[in-house]
């Protein structure tokens, strides 16, 4: 197993991440409506819908991709309903979300831009003697 040690390897940490949510109105983006702080977690996934066709007496499965989707979610410490729920979670609107990872020691950075995100789920969780965490899920149309 090879071990890469080239200098371009940068490990990004969540401490360096800046999440910004804009409203997408078709024209130019306006000011950010929510810059997320107290971020606890970020998740971006691409999923395929696959149909599988088993063949007789064979372990081999034919499969066919019938669709694909993106899922994005971010968790932050909860501090009030107004900032996340009424500003960045309106089902009738589309949002653009940028996630910027910046590595302080090298200055390297990487930005994910998620286009035309539709709000999916807003979850609030916690437990006795713990702090509350809000989890926002969006479904991006595409990202780059």
């Amino acid at each position: 197993m090879s071990h890469l040690t080239c200098e371009s390897d940068v490990v990004f940490s969540l401490n360096d991440a800046t999440l910004t949510i804009y409203e997408e109105t078709g024209g130019a983006l306006g000011d950010p409506i929510l810059e997320m702080i107290y971020v606890q977690g970020v998740s971006l996934a691409k999923e395929y819908d696959i149909d599988e066709y088993p063949s007789m007496n064979s372990e081999y499965l034919n499969h066919e991709i019938i669709g694909q989707r993106f899922n994005f979610s971010a968790e932050k410490l909860y501090f009030d309903k107004a900032t996340v729920f009424s500003q960045a979670f309106d089902r009738s609107k589309k949002y653009r979300i940028t996630v910027n990872f910046y590595e302080h020691s090298t200055g390297k950075n990487e930005t994910y831009t998620l286009y035309s995100c539709t709000p999916g789920a807003f979850e609030l969780s916690g437990r006795d003697n713990d702090i509350m965490v809000a989890r926002l899920s969006y479904r991006p149309y595409r990202f780059e």
Partner: protein, 271 residues
């Protein structure tokens, strides 16, 4: 107020009582001179029997006095003055009034006697001056002195309030602000064994109130009273030593809250 004498554990006397500390009234300060008493049930004065006549104390609860301070140059701290109105022990119609001045920056667990001409039989209203949002004061009645039994032959006593502070970080800042959390309030007593029906083996597994009287330098005067409410010793193994050695009991448990009273002044519950 506290003096500057170092306390000596050898001179801590321990007592237990089956009687709990009664909470008579809660004061959740929302703004200066203003409080809510949401934790009091309706007509709360009927819920707690203090009719035999008791001294009441104002106990700093949950947050220290001065939690609302944000200014860079702290102004002189302000005490919270609690005024309690009620009936005396004979239920005389003449209102009983008592006042306690809780000093600025008092810490959680500190209790100040509500000074009245006589003891209270009921509480009908409470008012405050001073205070800031987030502070909480509970009016309590302590168990009567006559209900306490001396534990004795103790070899060591320790308690730990546990941390009630949780740091909330933000990016690279380790403490952005603090949240209050539940502390693990534990206590531990070790003792020379007396008999199954005496002391630690006797009070195991049930709720009691523990009182520690702190004496300075072997003197009779008590410098400080420390009460522990809703104590329960969950475990108290007995160890029998070899011939000539001691039989010892070491009990571990938890408690709900601590009440500390200055013994040098007029707050002394034995007076």
């Amino acid at each position: 107020m506290s003096n500057r004498t170092v306390k000596n554990q050898y001179e801590a006397q321990l007592y237990y009582s089956w009687c709990p500390i009664q909470e008579v009234w809660t004061i959740d300060v929302t703004a200066p001179d203003t409080y809510t008493d949401a934790e009091n049930v309706a007509d709360s004065t009927q819920c707690y029997d203090i009719s035999a006549g008791y001294n009441l104390y104002a106990l700093v609860t949950d947050n220290p006095i001065g939690v609302g301070l944000t200014e860079l140059e702290c102004t002189e701290g302000q005490p919270v003055v609690v005024t309690v109105n009620g009936n005396d022990a004979t239920y005389a119609q003449s209102a009983q009034t008592g006042v306690a001045t809780v000093p600025a920056y008092s810490q959680v667990g500190w209790a100040v006697l509500i000074v009245a001409d006589n003891t209270f039989g009921a509480v009908t209203s409470v008012s405050i001056t001073g205070g800031s949002a987030g502070e909480k004061i509970t009016i309590i009645a302590l168990p009567a002195v006559s209900t306490f039994t001396f534990i004795g032959f103790d070899q060591g006593f320790s308690w730990d309030e546990g941390t009630t502070s949780r740091a909330i970080p933000n990016k690279y800042v380790s403490v952005d602000h603090w949240k209050r959390t539940r502390g693990e309030a534990t206590l531990s007593i070790s003792q020379l064994y007396q008999s199954f029906n005496r002391a630690l083996t006797y009070i195991r597994g049930r709720d009691f109130t523990l009182k520690a009287e702190i004496h300075d330098d072997g003197g009779a005067a008590i410098s400080e009273y420390i009460y522990f409410d809703k104590c329960r010793l969950a475990s108290n193994p007995v160890t029998v030593g070899a011939d000539g050695a001691d039989i010892t009991v070491s009990a571990d448990g938890m408690y709900q809250k601590m009440v500390v009273i200055d013994g040098t002044g007029a707050d002394n519950p034995c007076e």
